[in-house]
Subunit: 138 residues, 2 copies
Amino acid sequence: MLLLSAARALVDGIDGRVRAAGFDDIRPAHGFAFARVSGAGATVTELAEHLEITKQAASQMAEELIRKGYLQRSPHPTDARARLLTLTEKGHACTRAADAAAVATLEPLGRALTGSQKQALRTALRQLATPGRIRPTW
Amino acid sequence: MLLLSAARALVDGIDGRVRAAGFDDIRPAHGFAFARVSGAGATVTELAEHLEITKQAASQMAEELIRKGYLQRSPHPTDARARLLTLTEKGHACTRAADAAAVATLEPLGRALTGSQKQALRTALRQLATPGRIRPTW
DNA sequence: ACTATTTAGTCAGGCAGCTTGACCAAATTT
DNA sequence: AAATTTGGTCAAGCTGCCTGACTAAATAGT
């Protein structure tokens, strides 16, 4: 229960700060999409695999984020079927805000724990976490 | 990310084991309902508050869990408007299975950590967790 | 080189789980 | 005893996901 509550508090904390920063038309789930698209970009199919949803659902989400100005589509450099999704400047600004929000949310925790406690925390979470399977969909 | 992944792994682990135990017609969200209903029981309104959803949604969920044999309705002892939701024997069996599933899922973690590491983990999670707001709905 | 299969993506329709709004009956307040 | 609040349901609608069917480009097989 503590673990679930902490996870929820983290998501709520980040979401609240991101919204407060002016990005109030997106949901936490979109953050997981941004994480995959940032960097070299991603195709709809790659996004779908990362989020563990169907291509159709990923396509809809991409459409929404494009419409809202966070993503853009460009022709894929090597595959004429595919189209590359990348962050717009607004998308980059939003991920920067999310990073800052995460830091701010975790800051009191960072101050409250000693170095060895942080280490123990990482160890425990890593022990439990399954690689991949990040996005909570329940 | 580690924290979210760990939370997801915990939920997936419990869900998988509960399903494997034969309770394959319910979702993790129902576990949070059982937690509130178990004990002295609860009304639809109390359930709604606990799950942070509307009364209508809680009513539907209760209806479903009654239909599937996990809950039962009885007249409320002191309020003729209200009806008390309680666990059936099947509901109790399911919560026992869920408890066992949680223990089994966390068992490797328990073996891997020293006492002081467990203590540090609790401290850290408690620091972050908001009282109430357990159910992850994002 | 030509056919067959796979892969990236979209269109269409449907469903589950939630919402808001309107309402009734019992309890509580004034 | 009238007015308000509270517990619960009915009805309708929305959203985010799903399955199924399809097109076009890439890749594999012969």
